[in-house]
Amino acid sequence: MLMSRFKQLGLLLCSVLLAANVHAVTVEDSKGSFSLDYAPQRIVVLEFSFADALAAVGITPVGIADDKDKNRVLPEVRDIIGDWQSVGTRSQPSLEVIASLKPDLIIADISRHEAVYDDLKKIAPTLILPSRRETYSDNLKAAAIIGKIVGKEQAMQERLALHRDKMANIAKQLPSQATVQFGVARADALFLHTSDSYAGGVIQALGMQTPQSDRDDSAYRQTSLEQLLAINPNYFIVGHYTEPSIVDKWRKEPLWQVLQAVQNKHIYSVNPNVWSRCRGIMAAEHMAKDLLAIFNKS
């Protein structure tokens, strides 16, 4: 009797230890090795792409650096995660608000938050990954890492497989030889998203071409009308941050008419928030659907 009690206790202990071992995961983030020996319950994310990754496996973050505007989070992501607390802007998240949420994991962006990395670590274990200026494949890698660290590796791999299927399926319906250029237009500046940018990566993942840039450079490049003429893409997709934007000003200029995309009426507007800020599994699928709608129309 006593022996069987001991056996039961031993079994229980073993299973507890095993369970703990299941949660102890180690991943490589932008600062090296990152380990967590519990499944985080209260997660604060400081970029939209991380919220997208959490939503992909059905987890709701307690806080998002949403630029104090909930509408900036992708609608598809909002539908899954419900409500959250804003922790300020992505560029200047409020450390006080983050601390007040008592998170057990913070996911930060190496590009924006490296300077406050040490402060964030004092609040909670901080996983730091690329987001701003990341490529499409960087983003999928970051999503896989997030899946592993929140204890949903299996679910994330399944979601990523589904994502690849969806993208491949849409790619079949899009013309593979077309060059597509995306850019965001502000009141007095146009920034093209180059082949190395996230949007450029999504376009390539959908089997289409992005204009070759003659120099190795960053994801976003400020571009004049003249430089746009030199690039001369088949399709030009613009996200207008303001109306009227600089592109609307250019429309009145004779040189604008020389653009191939203008002559063939292949200029389209998309939501700049989705295309430029969101990034993520669901954001890419949203962009793919936008492109499908554009090419079905044309």
Partner: protein, 332 residues
């Protein structure tokens, strides 16, 4: 120096300006433009040719604006140095650029102020307020109270204050800030015929007014007491001079953004060439200013070809060491 020498200097500068202007029209184009295309686009314009179009629609207004910008800023610097008898006086040193930048940043980012005034008006008001504060702090309005160091210190302090406030605005309103940042760097890349049309009437009026002011500036160099004894109305000259500076700098800044150091460097170059007489060295300064900005604009396409580097940044690279040189020359 004799009159023919002045004539030669002016003629040589004008030839240099014309040559640089012609070079500016075709050099470092993303879409290749031949040198003869420039000529052909002016004489036998072919609306189907892209290079003709670029010369006519982009290059020509850009070049003319660059020339006028150079002339205006050089003139503003000359007037400021003449009025304050301070060799370090220039729009960028005495806070006008920073004040105008703050004015523009406020109008373009704060929702309360949207549409309250045009950006060019905001630039002029901002620059005017900053200039007024600098003159008051530097006690430049008081007769005889014209301490050189004090004025420059006041300019530096006001510039720093305005720059800090501008940065605060930019950080708080990050989304609208990209445009402000582009503008702060000062670039001629977006100067079109429309820019030119809004710009040249005011700029030419300012330049003409400056030529009228030159006799008083000459007398002011003798010292304020002497100038007054010789019949110069000090207050009127200072007010008219300040108005001209604001007109020249304000319209320039609203056309192409904040371009510094032209107003500081060029008057010294001109004085070196033709001496102290404002009636001669002001026109030379105008020509030299136009030449320098045209050159900077050409280089702005060359430095990180095929991307554009703001012309203001290039001028700052030349201007900052020159400023240090001037300061050292004064104290040693």
């Amino acid at each position: 120096m004799t009159r023919p020498f002045y004539g030669l200097t002016i003629a040589l500068t004008a030839i240099l300006l014309l040559f640089l202007g012609w070079w500016n029209l075709f050099a470092w184009s993303v879409i290749p433009i031949q040198a003869q295309d420039v000529w052909l686009s002016l004489t036998h314009f072919d609306s189907q040719s892209i290079s003709h179009r670029i010369v006519q629609d982009l290059r020509l207004p850009r070049l003319l604006t660059a020339m006028l910008v150079g002339a205006c800023l050089a003139t503003a610097g000359t007037i400021m140095q003449g009025l304050t008898r301070n060799p370090l006086a220039a729009p960028s040193v005495l806070g006008i650029n920073a004040g105008a930048a703050l004015g523009m940043a406020l109008v373009s980012t704060l929702p309360v102020l949207y549409g309250a005034s045009s950006t060019s008006l905001a630039a002029m008001i901002g620059g005017g307020v900053a200039w007024l504060l600098v003159m008051l702090l530097g006690s430049s309005w008081r007769i005889g109270g014209n301490e050189r160091g004090r004025l420059v210190l006041a300019g530096v302090a006001i510039s720093a204050l305005c720059a800090a406030l501008t940065k605060a605005v930019v950080i708080m309103e990050e989304d609208q800030a990209a445009g402000v940042l582009t503008w702060l760097a000062g670039s001629l890349a977006d100067a079109r015929w429309q820019t030119w049309q809004h710009y040249w009437p005011f700029a030419l009026a300012g330049l003409f007014g400056a030529l009228l002011l030159t006799p008083s500036l000459n007398l002011l160099q003798l010292g304020e007491e002497h100038a007054r004894n010789l019949g110069v109305n000090l207050l009127r000259s200072k007010l008219f001079g300040s108005f001209l500076v604001l007109l020249l700098v304000g319209t320039t800044i609203s056309a192409v953004g904040s371009i510094g150091f032209i107003g500081l460097i060029v008057p010294h170059m001109a004085r070196l060439l033709v001496g102290q007489d404002f009636r001669i060295f002001l026109p030379v300064a105008m020509l030299l200013g136009a030449t320098l900005v045209t050159l900077a604009d050409t280089l702005s396409r060359a430095i990180s070809y095929p991307m554009e580097t703001p012309a203001g940044a290039i001028l700052a690279l030349i201007g900052a060491p020159f400023f240090i040189y001037l300061v050292r020359k004064r104290t040693l």
